[in-house]
């Protein structure tokens, strides 16, 4: 008889995550879930998938945690030197191009989908998607990770250009919540990072504060039976 297969030792490494970034009138909003998985085991239920590259540019990481961390470390290494030499803040385009170079030139070793977003004084807010193969594409909004499959139809209908900061933030939180509802590899809390001319603001939405959707039951107090 064959020994029972264990998912957490045999399962292929899946892109367990939902990440997204949206451009709004004045800046960008990055959002992500917080679940890191090894098969069905949740290795970290409160991870931070939104990483700083510079003061004004952040990165959403999906796919292999190790690969995405190393890419972001190297991009920070090059961007810091670039910033000191340049004497002013790096542009989002420069940061994205560096991420793309690392992704593309090492494509046979890496398995990570990334979204770079930030604000600079030349372009305002910008979002760049860098999926698995190392393509670089500037987009008004980008999604990534296994949970993003469940968002294509929703965003086709719900996204509109030139949103306000509140509208964009609400869209990001709702999208990540919807993906968490249907994707087993996404879950935990929703983290958002807002970047604009004024600076950077991190927000945290605890799991029980997220909206509920179709067929999801609200928590209710358990009756205590006296006997």
């Amino acid at each position: 008889m064959e020994p029972m297969a264990c998912q957490w030792t045999d399962a292929p490494h899946s892109m367990g995550t939902t990440i997204m970034a949206v451009e709004y009138n004045g800046g960008v909003i990055l959002g992500a879930d917080s679940r890191t998985t090894t098969g069905v085991y949740v290795a970290n239920r409160a991870s931070d998938k939104i990483t700083e590259l510079t003061d004004n540019v952040y990165l959403c990481r999906s796919g292999s945690a190790a690969d995405s961390q190393v890419v972001s470390d190297y991009v920070r290494y090059f961007l810091n030197q670039h910033t000191i030499l340049l004497g002013r803040l790096a542009t989002v385009k420069t940061a994205s191009t560096l991420v793309k170079e690392l992704s593309y030139q090492n494509k046979s070793f890496l398995e990570t989908g990334l979204i770079v977003a930030g604000w600079d004084k030349y372009e305002g807010g910008s979002v760049y998607g860098i999926p698995l193969g190392g393509t670089l594409l500037r987009l008004p909004f980008a999604t990534g990770g296994s949970g993003s499959s469940y968002l294509y139809g929703f965003l086709d209908q719900a996204w509109k250009s030139n949103m306000t900061q509140e509208e964009a933030e609400a869209l990001v939180v709702k999208s990540i919540s919807l993906a968490i509802a249907r994707d087993g590899a996404s879950g935990g809390v929703v983290r958002t990072v807002t970047i604009n001319e004024e600076g950077v603001q991190r927000k945290f939405y605890a799991g029980d504060k997220l909206p509920l959707f179709h067929e999801e039951i609200a928590p209710r107090p358990t009756p205590i039976h006296a006997n």
Binding site: D73, Y74, R76, Y77, F78, N80, Q81, I84, L85
Partner: protein
Amino acid sequence: MARYDRAITVFSPDGHLFQVEYALEAVRKGNAAVGVRGTDTIVLGVEKKSTAKLQDARTVRKILKLDEHVSLAFAGLTADARVLVNRARIECQSHRLTVEDPVTVEYITRFIAGLQQKYTQSGGVRPFGISTLIVGFDPYTGVPALYQTDPSGTFSAWKANATGRNSNSVREFLEKNYTETSGAETVKLAVRALLEVVESGGKNIEIAVMTKNEGLRLLDEAEVEEIVAGIEAEKAAVEAAKKGPPRDQ
């Protein structure tokens, strides 16, 4: 290629490294640079050669940032400094990447001095023709530091020091007048020291102030002029007091 293996820096019969001493000569010919360490502020000042009318002054920088919390001023060959600073900047980031911590001032000084020493003991190269003043704050304790390196590769920490043209006079002034200062007082001490050997005026000196929270800030010409004017006024007042009140006839 055997000819290029020969060391340029060799010992003389009486134990001198002439190439290193000649490099120090090059430093002595360079524009004056001064560094003063205060309790919460560090000041770097350099003598500014009057820029040609058509030259963009912003591109002639002798006070350079190595990392957010460490800066460098030098005296000597500008091109040599550029090369050394590039290597140091890469080392600052490489250190951050490998040990996940910013460099200490002592570490990067040791690195630069090590590089300068290497070029006194390698084939086919000459020593760097610069002495550096390296300043910064310890990333965790916030303690300010000032170090000096020279073409031989030696380095040491200082409370205040000068290098380049007339450095002896400047150092003498600092030895006489150094006290523990902070903030604007530290800036004034550095400017007074530089004015000992540089023609008076904001046009001829460049001052950079470093604090723990704001990093390096280059003072603009107007600010320097103000400080210089203040110093001149003080000097004049002292002179007048010496002469005494006008005598009645």
